[in-house]
C-alpha cells in the first residue's frame, strides 16, 4: 500500500508521446522520392547537423529532430513547423552530415510539400506575387544612378516575359492565383 501511495505522482513527462495513429507511413517515401531526398534513411541520429546549425538553439524542433520526424512519418508536424521557413538555407548542416543526408535540400522538399498545401508564410506569398507580377525580385528604379556609373540606364538584354510565362504555369501561378 505504502509503496503504491509513494508512487501516486505520475512521472514527469520528458517527451511528449507520439500519437501513432497520426503518423503517415508514406511521408518518408514521399520525401525520399523528392529531389535529393534519397539519402534520408541513412540518418543515424548523431545530431551533427544540429550542432552545425547557427540558429537551431532557438528552434523547438532541431534539424536532427526534423529528419527523425520525417522518418517516423510526422507529416503534419513537419509541414506546419515554422522551422522549415526559418532555415537560412546556409547548408552548414548538410555539409557536415557524416551520412551525406542532404538536410538543407530535404527542408526545401518539405517547403515544397507545405506550399502544395498552401502552408506558406504571408511574406513568401508576397514574394511569389512580386515574381509573377514583375518577373524579378528587384526592379531598376534609379536609372540615373546607373548612368552616373557609366552603365546603360536599363539593363541590356533584360526580358521578364518568359520568366513570368513559365511561373504562371507552375505552382507559383497556382499559389498567387489561389490567393486572389
Amino acid at each position: 500500500m505504502t509503496e503504491t501511495e509513494e508512487k501516486a505522482d505520475p512521472p514527469a513527462v520528458m517527451i511528449e508521446p507520439i500519437d501513432i495513429s497520426k503518423l503517415d507511413p508514406d511521408f518518408r517515401e514521399g520525401i525520399r522520392s523528392m529531389p535529393n531526398g534519397e539519402e534520408l534513411s541513412a540518418c543515424f541520429a548523431c545530431s551533427t547537423c544540429t550542432a552545425a546549425c547557427p540558429i537551431a538553439n532557438t528552434w523547438k524542433y532541431k534539424p536532427h529532430q526534423l529528419i527523425r520526424m520525417i522518418l517516423l512519418g510526422m507529416r503534419e508536424e513537419v509541414l506546419s513547423s515554422e522551422e522549415i521557413w526559418l532555415c537560412l538555407t546556409c547548408f552548414e548542416c548538410q555539409e557536415r552530415c557524416p551520412q551525406n543526408v542532404r538536410v538543407t535540400d530535404i527542408f526545401f522538399d518539405c517547403k515544397n510539400l507545405a506550399a502544395e498545401e498552401s502552408m506558406i508564410p504571408d511574406s513568401i506569398v508576397g514574394l511569389a506575387k512580386e515574381l509573377l507580377d514583375k518577373g524579378q525580385l528587384y526592379v531598376v528604379t534609379a536609372d540615373w544612378e546607373r548612368e552616373d556609373m557609366d552603365l546603360e540606364p536599363e539593363v541590356p538584354g533584360l526580358s521578364t516575359e518568359e520568366f513570368k510565362a513559365i511561373l504562371k504555369g507552375t505552382r507559383t501561378g497556382r499559389i498567387v492565383g489561389g490567393d486572389e
Binding site: 529531389p35 532555415c87 537560412l88 538555407t89 546556409c90 517547403k111 511574406s123 546607373r146 526580358s159 520568366f163
Partner: protein
C-alpha cells in the same frame, strides 16, 4: 581574351551599380569580354526554390539553355544567382528524368538544356582563366598590410559538391592586392539575408554576429561577392546603431571594388560613394 555570357540577375543592376561598374572595369583590364545575356531576368532566389521547385528548375534551365546558344560559360557577380544556376545545372546533369520534364517545357520557348556550358561565379573565372600571375602585374596601388575579412557567402561555398568553389580562390584574390586576409571564427557563417523576409530580428542578429566576429579579429574592412550579403552587412550596420547601440564602422566592399582600387582606379570609378559605411580607412591608406 576570354568571352563570357554575363548573367546579372536583378539585384546588382537595381541596387548595386557600383558592383556592376567595377566588375566591367576590372574585366576590361584583362581584355575579358562580358556579354549581357538576351531575354533573361531573375533566378527566382531560394524563395522560389522553396515554394516551386519545378518553376525554379525551368527558369534557371532556360537561362543556361540561352547561354548554350553562343557556347560561352555564364559568369555572374551574385552568389544567389550562382547558387541557383549551379544547383540547377548540377541537378539536371545528374537527373535524366527531370531533365526530360524540364526540356519538355523549354521546348515551348524554343530552347533546350543540354549542359554544354557551365555557370560560374565571376571571381572563379577570374582566378582560373586569367590567373593570379596576370592579376599581379596589374596591381599598381597595393593595399599592403590592410587587414581584410572575407565574407564568402553560403551559396558560393555550399553545398561544395555542387558549387565546386574553393575558399582559397577568394583569399588569393585578396592577397594579390597586398592586403592580408583576417581570419575570424565565424567565417563560414550566414549573413542572415535569406531569412530577412520571414524574421527580420533574426536576420539582424546574424549580421551582427558576423560583424562582431570580424571586428574583434582585427579587420579594417570586409569584402563580399554578393549583393545580398553586401546589403546585409553594409546596410544593417546603420540599423545596428539603433537596435543594439553598437557601431562597427566596418566598410563593406565588393571584391571588384577592391581589385579596382588596387589596380589604380579612382574611388569614383568603382562607385565607392554608394557604399553606405564610408570607406575612409581605405582611401586614407591609398592616398598615404
Amino acid at each position: 581574351m576570354p568571352s563570357y555570357n554575363l548573367y546579372m540577375g536583378c539585384s546588382v543592376p537595381a541596387n548595386y551599380p557600383n558592383y556592376e561598374t567595377s566588375l566591367f572595369r576590372v574585366a576590361d583590364k584583362f581584355g575579358i569580354e562580358l556579354i549581357y545575356m538576351e531575354g533573361v531576368s531573375c533566378c527566382g532566389s531560394p524563395n522560389l526554390r522553396a515554394i516551386d521547385y519545378m518553376g525554379w528548375l525551368i527558369v534557371n534551365a532556360r537561362t543556361l539553355a540561352v547561354a548554350e546558344k553562343n557556347g560561352h560559360d555564364i559568369v555572374t557577380p551574385c552568389n544567389g544567382c550562382f547558387g541557383s544556376l549551379k544547383d540547377v545545372y548540377h541537378f539536371l546533369i545528374h537527373n535524366a528524368d527531370y531533365r526530360e520534364k524540364v526540356n519538355a517545357e523549354l521546348k515551348k520557348t524554343g530552347v533546350e538544356f543540354k549542359g554544354t556550358i557551365k555557370p560560374r561565379h565571376f571571381i572563379e573565372a577570374l582566378y582560373n582563366d586569367i590567373g593570379i600571375d596576370e592579376i599581379k602585374k596589374k596591381i599598381t596601388k597595393p593595399l599592403d598590410g590592410v587587414g581584410i575579412a572575407i565574407h564568402y557567402g553560403c551559396h558560393l561555398l555550399r553545398p561544395k559538391d555542387v558549387t565546386e568553389f574553393k575558399p582559397e580562390i577568394f583569399e588569393a584574390l585578396i592577397r594579390v592586392t597586398g592586403a592580408s586576409v583576417v581570419e575570424y571564427p565565424l567565417w563560414k557563417q550566414c549573413c542572415g539575408a535569406t531569412v530577412l523576409p520571414v524574421n527580420e530580428e533574426l536576420a539582424i542578429r546574424l549580421a551582427r554576429d558576423k560583424l562582431k566576429s570580424m571586428k574583434e579579429a582585427g579587420a579594417v574592412f570586409t569584402t563580399v561577392s554578393c549583393p545580398a550579403c553586401g546589403n546585409q552587412l553594409d546596410l544593417q550596420q546603420l540599423g545596428l546603431k539603433e537596435s543594439y547601440g553598437e557601431e562597427y564602422n566596418l566598410p563593406v566592399l565588393f571584391i571588384t571594388q577592391i581589385l579596382g582600387l588596387a589596380m589604380g582606379m579612382g574611388d569614383d570609378e568603382v562607385g565607392l560613394e554608394m557604399n553606405r559605411v564610408p570607406a575612409d580607412p581605405i582611401l586614407k591608406h591609398l592616398s598615404g
